[in-house]
Symmetry: C5
Subunit: 241 residues, 5 copies
């Protein structure tokens, strides 16, 4: 089976985010079907455990366009595709519409490396999350303009140092992960965060709005995903109520 800690730390891993909205007919599905949905998903995840790592999140009550979303990791993208197709054939999948899909790849650091920015790299590597088990997930799709991509590496490094310096302190209460999407999706990056302190997260985002890098964003959210973190089984049970 895929090892969670390993696949979540490696570069070269595919991340597929799929947002789903329940159709009105979910309400009318027989209670027995809805009650079996959680076990059905658990079984499906187990069947695919050598191919994909699966997380599910609850956005119902906080977002308009979707009620829950999947974050699937795989070493090969077609494995993620096969899993998501199989999910769409389950009871829950058949009663849901896809609202949004984002595909990205994890990579090694481009800017804040030991060579290019040793001080900030040291802060980055030594930071530890010390908050409670995070209740909240936030995911922000991002696209930068052609001017950004045409800047020299030194110019971009300076702006990424401005991004990192004021935000290192937040690593005590915000967990972060980055995926690269340019060319395989309509965004440049998928960003993913877990926190138990949304007020701190909101201040973190104001810091990032306030640096020069932000002048190069042509997309920053739209949609910003906000939800709560539970086991896949609990998410489905919440949807089946």
């Amino acid at each position: 089976a895929i090892e969670r800690a390993k696949i979540l730390a490696e570069p070269g891993v595919f991340g597929v985010f799929t947002m789903f909205k329940l159709r009105p007919d979910w309400d009318k599905a027989p209670a027995a079907e809805r009650e079996g949905a959680a076990a059905e998903l658990t079984k499906l995840i187990e069947e695919h455990k050598n191919n994909v790592l699966v997380d599910v999140y609850l956005t119902r009550g906080l977002k308009t366009q979707y009620d829950y979303f999947f974050r699937v990791h795989a070493y090969e993208l077609d494995k993620a595709q096969t899993f998501m197709r199989a999910f769409r054939a389950t009871t829950l999948g058949r009663h849901s519409d896809v609202a949004e899909t984002q595909v990205g790849i994890t990579k090694a650091l481009n800017y804040i490396t030991k060579d290019m920015s040793p001080g900030l790299n040291s802060g980055l590597s030594s930071a530890t999350y010390t908050g409670p088990a995070p209740r909240y997930v936030v995911s922000v799709p991002i696209k930068k303009d052609a001017a950004w991509w045409n800047m020299s590496i030194d110019e971009r490094l300076a702006l990424m140092e401005e991004h990192t310096a004021p935000t290192l302190a937040y690593l005590v209460n915000v967990k972060r992960k980055l995926y690269h999407s340019t060319g395989i999706d309509d965004i440049d990056f998928i960003t993913y965060f877990e926190t138990d302190d949304l007020k701190a997260f909101q201040n973190l985002m104001i810091s990032l709005a306030s640096v020069g890098e932000n002048k190069h964003h042509v997309r920053w959210g739209d949609p910003t995903t906000l939800g709560t973190i539970h086991t896949p089984e609990k998410v489905v049970q919440a949807l089946a109520e």
Copy 2:
């Protein structure tokens, strides 16, 4: 139970605005079901009274995309999520689609404080609403550009003083409340107003269109919410007619 005046005055409180549109099948629901919907909502609000403060407003007849909306306050966002999910399982909720959701947090003043702008702060603090019980609610989601967020505090203060100086006089007939959303939603602010004098409000908004701060808005409404203020029970009765 949550204390209304307290939670509406404190910083660090989550506000969740959810706009709903009735589906055509609401019409066809049995009259008995529709007539029970008001009591069902009242009961639900009572069940959650220790977790959330709930206001409901009627926009049907004035807005295209939604017929009514909720404004829910909570000290913890997951409590607001749980309440909204429970509402969506009620008779009225099951016959409605979510049209728009906005999430924000209340904060202490950033600009017009005793230290930074004592004269205007004094006007702000001493202002009193003297109009009749307000019949109307207006809510305007707002997002500012990267240039705004990159300006120094002094530059932003000057523009917020231009915002405040011509608008203090309206506090006699407009009640206002501000929520901060950057990073947890696709907007920077949710603004909320109650008034009995929409002509005064319309002039207030022209004043705010006419100051330098407005050059930094990339979103100012879209949608502007306009509705009438009633008890939750009365809103549901109006929808059930």
Copy 3:
């Protein structure tokens, strides 16, 4: 009852424009229901005659997004809301979806007054419509940029004089009415015209495209409403065929 000529000439009056599209199920409603819809609307308008003035227009065959629209005038906005909600509960209303809503307020002149622009004001006040009973209605929602609203009154006056000078001549074959919407809707103005000569109207609009004021438009239509003028009864009969 509301006096038509009076309410259509006064400032401080609310105008609510609501555009409706027939749902496919209108076709399948029993003929008896559809045939009763015109009388049902006439009756409703009569019931609300002390609160609102109601005009209805036919856009089916000329517009995509809607088949007919209401223009309702009231001294209090909540009266207009109540009437529109009541309409939505009628046979025709229940078989229609709202496609667009616009809310505005009439006001006294801001620019072309006796004091500020006496020559053009004189032309404005003395103009008379001499065309046949107008068959056509056009309505154009308009929003101006922050640069416009930040200009001095003198700068804006100069541009509004450029707007008025070439258009006075059209008042012989175009009737016009203006509503102010900034802050209570997502537009700044609702404009309303009646004419029997659309070729003249089209040339009028080219004149207005060709002046400096047009450089400040961030929205000019979208949608431009175009329809034909009939009694409410005739509009509903046309829809019921």
Copy 4:
């Protein structure tokens, strides 16, 4: 009855383009109904032959948003409206949704006249289509910016000469027609072309993309309509298969 060659050559004629998409329920309509649809349309066109000239085109298989469209000419717009409403009450019309509507008026030349541009006017007037009976129709809605409309007639003439000089040669294999829409629709122009050589047409459009006039386009297509030319009867038979 309206004379085809006459109405297609005159200025001051209204053109109404209406794009339709078949609803899924068309499939399920009884075969007898579908087979009668072509004759039903022929009969309707005959009934209105004194009021409107009607062309119908097939876009199914080439366009997403619509399957077929009407181009209707009339001396009075309300006649076109009445015809389109009557069409929507036919079998085919009742099983279709309107996807797009465009309204325009034909006019005399504004730029390439004998007086203003004699050389190009001569080329324009003497050009003859020498290609085979055209199989293809293309229609491109166009809107120009405020800067264009604010330019002097001399500046605009220079740019229209740049438009015309490289395109005259294409008149041997492209037929063209222009409608003016400013103010009665959300576009400035509807352009209409027939050709049997889409590769030539594609090169023609590259020529027009490459001139200064193109810098003033705020809309150039969206949607670009592309379809095939048949009798109305044949279009409906194709849709009924």
Copy 5:
């Protein structure tokens, strides 16, 4: 019958890309119908083999707006239209909605020719794909601004050389094909790629984001199509599960 290698190498060939999304009612179609769909498509492709070359791809699980797409080549566009219309009448076609259509024409090189850029042309002509049979397809619709089209051929050549120099190396693991769409669709180009190495492709796209040509893109994706490559029969079987 059309020869695959020939039609895929020739200029002056029409390419029609049609993206489809399964409707919820596909689920409810009788199993026998769904199981017959693959053979039905194979038969249809055979019937049209003298007119069109047909490829089908699976995007379900990776894209929101569509589940599968067709890429059809023909020497005459009306042949492609006829085939796509026939497909829409099949079991699978009747249970699908069209989500996106793109039409383009293949052409000879405009820039990197032996005469204009001999070095890069040599690299282009000698490059060979040496990767495994590609599993993945990517297609990116592209539109450039009026400034691009107004540049001289020398200016555009310089920018296309910047496009080609860093990308030649990728031809060992990326197959590419280009279609020209200006004027017959709302884009300028359809680009099409096959690869077995999406990480390499993602880096290739970063290279293209980072050159001056990218400053002229007004559309670059939206949507970016990403899917897997199978025989048409296998795609339909995957959809029928």
